[in-house]
């Protein structure tokens, strides 16, 4: 290429000044020789020759401002090379007028539709829960046991699955969720880490890149803020950044949300935070059965999964079907109660308030439909929309803060998909918009309550 083009100094540079020529016509140049200096308001750069040859013509005068990127600025010919026929003349290569030949903006957009509109996002279709065998035995167990069984079963099934985290092995888990795993699987697969969340979350992500299936336990999700960069920047984005080559098949799990009286730094709900991130799957179960079936699904998932448990729910008991391999579909909400008057949508600990409120409301004659989201990303909005088309009213319940919360997201999606069916504004019951206070009375006020759920339902059903 005999023409030397005006280079770009940065991805956003469109034009610049040809500040100085360091060669003149007739000079012989070699690779690496500096031909010119160009300037923008941000930087100065030297234009080097790539080939050897003779400078035949300088096409832009020294001191010219507004030289567009990629405009030929000089003609350099190799020994014996001819100038291309009809090569640029100085007149032709002068900076283009700022105004391009007038094409109406709309026409231009019409001409190149592909540049304007992004293709629609593909729709996620979740499978239905598996049918249980006729007369299946149901076993009462705590959420803690259910999570423990899920890990043990998956570790028996797949040698690549291992658990790491603070106090998961010898201490048997800070909240005893990993109890017995060290004894069964040994210290190569149940690994106590130092207190280095950022480091071991990154290490586990690297191990997942290399094909292992780590379960990373955070003592609580509060401490995962030390590690959030690895979860988001490394694990969540890896598949996309690698064009689909490198996966991070792993689970980050631990208790999320407020425990009791542990104050601001130890009581946060990260549901909305992680649900914001494309590339992550986010699960937040309430019942023991869902905890088991979804944790098993999470461990088998080829994607990085953020699995949000709740310390207060660890000890709560409910029925889990006794089947060999109880795996639930990720991304499917569960209709916990069918009803016609109002839809209450919640998940995890929020379901406790929602369930208790539902009992009282039903007793008072309100036919509540109660939906447990179970998975927060992908969000099963179809189930919510279908319900709201029937009830015309929706109340969301969560422990997290209101701004940008799960309830805010649901309200927004309902406006998009069920606007004409709404008979009342979608109403959120959330944690108060404050850091969690320590004092018992203030903590109680900061959290959502059964009464607040009832009041919200009364408001949207115009019963108050």
């Amino acid at each position: 290429m005999p023409n030397i083009l005006m280079p770009a100094l940065s991805p956003t540079m469109e034009e610049g000044k040809l500040a100085k020529w360091l060669v003149k016509e007739g000079d012989t140049v070699n690779p690496g020789d500096v031909l010119a200096e160009i300037e923008t308001d941000k930087a100065t750069m030297e234009v080097e020759s790539v080939d050897s040859g003779v400078v035949k013509q300088l096409l832009v005068a020294e001191g010219t401002e507004g030289v567009k990127v990629n405009t030929p600025i000089a003609l350099v010919l190799a020994e014996g090379e001819e100038a291309p026929a009809g090569g640029p003349s100085p007149a032709e290569t002068a900076p283009e007028p700022a105004e391009a030949p007038a094409v109406p903006a709309e026409k231009a957009a019409e001409a190149a539709p592909s540049a304007a509109a992004a293709p629609a996002a593909p729709k996620f279709e979740a499978a239905a829960d598996p049918d249980l065998p006729e007369g299946v035995e149901m076993v009462e167990m705590t959420v803690r046991q259910a999570l423990n069984e899920a890990m043990a079963e998956e570790m028996r099934r797949d040698k690549d699955v291992f658990v790491m985290g603070e106090e998961v092995a010898e201490y048997q888990g800070a909240y005893k969720v990993t109890q017995g795993l060290l004894q069964e699987f040994g210290k190569e697969r149940v690994i106590d880490t130092p207190i280095t969340e950022h480091g071991f979350a990154g290490l586990a992500t690297g191990a997942a890149f290399a094909g292992l299936k780590p379960i990373v336990e955070f003592m609580t999700w509060n401490f995962a803020m030390q590690a959030i960069d690895q979860i988001i920047n490394s694990a969540a984005k890896q598949l996309y950044m690698s064009g689909g080559q490198v996966t991070a098949p792993m689970v980050f799990r631990g208790p999320n949300g407020a425990a009791a009286r542990v104050a601001a730094q130890h009581s946060q709900d990260y549901s909305a935070w992680y649900s914001h991130i494309p590339g992550l799957t986010v699960i937040a179960p309430y019942s023991a059965a869902d905890a088991k079936g979804l944790l098993k699904a999470a461990i088998r998932s080829p994607n990085p999964v953020v699995f949000l448990e709740n310390e207060i729910l660890y000890g709560s008991t409910s029925e889990v079907p006794k089947v060999d391999d109880y795996v639930l579909p990720i991304g499917k909400a569960r209709v916990a109660r069918k009803g016609n008057d109002v839809t209450i949508v919640s998940f995890s600990m929020g379901m406790r308030y929602a369930t208790q409120a539902t009992e009282k409301l039903v007793a008072a004659g309100v036919d509540v439909e109660l939906i447990d989201l179970r998975t927060l990303r992908p969000l099963d909005i179809d189930t919510v929309v279908e319900s709201v088309k029937k009830t015309g009213r929706c109340v969301t319940v969560e422990e997290g803060w209101p701004q940008g919360g799960i309830g805010a997201e649901i309200a927004s999606r309902l406006m998009e998909h069920a606007f004409d069916y709404l008979d009342a504004p979608v109403t959120r019951v959330t944690g108060k918009d404050v850091p969690m206070p320590y004092a018992a009375n203030l903590e109680k006020l900061a959290l959502p309550s059964v009464d607040e759920v009832i009041a919200a339902v009364n408001a949207v059903t115009y019963r108050s």
């Binding site: 010898e170 106590d192 207190i195 401490f223 009286r261 542990v262 104050a263 601001a264 320590y438 004092a439």
Partner: protein, 339 residues
Amino acid sequence: MARKAVASKAKAQSNLPELTKDQELEAYRDMLLIRRFEEKAGQMYGMGLIGGFCHLYIGQEAVVTGVTMASRKGEDAQITGYRDHGHMLVMGLDPKGVMAELTGRQGGLSKGKGGSMHMFSNEHRFYGGNGIVGAQASLGTGLAFAAKYRGEDTVSLTYFGDGAANQGQVYESFNMAKLWKLPVVFIIENNKYAMGTSLERSAATTDLSKRGLSFDIPGEQVDGMDVRMTYDAARRAIEHARSGKGPYILEMLTYRYRGHSMSDPAKYRTKEEVSQYRQERDPIEHSKARILDLKYATEEDLKTIETEVRAIVTEAADFATNDPEPDASELWTDITIPA
């Protein structure tokens, strides 16, 4: 107990530094106040008056007592993790305010909003009271940065545990502290365990005083059960930092008698280990024996101190029990400063 100088710059000193009579008595009283206060807090937790996490300092009293005695009280900044009650008591914060914070009452140092892990005092230059393991290392380095920036000759006394010593930001802080010659003394309270994990099970190298070597930060291991040693080491470290030579690391070899927090199965160590420390190494018993031995005070005098200390603790407990909870309107205050 030998103190090991790690870096060449740490001057070798006599192994048994002496305290003056006044210092011995002051240290004894301060350590006793922490001990009795913490015992009371433990009881009140058992009675349901204190909730959440409550980490007691019993056994480690000599560390903060010696360091604070070597510091300029009210001028040098201090910052630590969640095991923070002792620091506040020795720094002179009101025991009533500390106890009432533990019970979550309006008269607490944080109006009941912070609890055991989150208490602060601008007046005494105590910056908490931090619940996230390791966070105080960088925060404390920042306190030192502010002192240098303003041309003040105050020092930041930054405490963290043996478990915290594995957090990445500790080393990021070491690097900046040395690079910018910041007046910070890093005090590693090595009580041998991070919750249920012994140092040996979590650290590739267990001499934590050497953790600053690659940054050329001098460090020493100190007998953290002997207030003379902690005082003497702190005096030198603080002098080093105050004179513009940059950071210094003191690894205080100490021991906590109680569980990590109030809920701790304590299966990770033997009863013998605990009772050996209590019987043979107790900082308060040793201090008492020395005082009597040197005739700095009589048994009778020490009883008087004990009575005074108990009265302070009882008063704090009564206050913390009877003070009302914060007003509901406090829920919405102190989030941001109204512009």
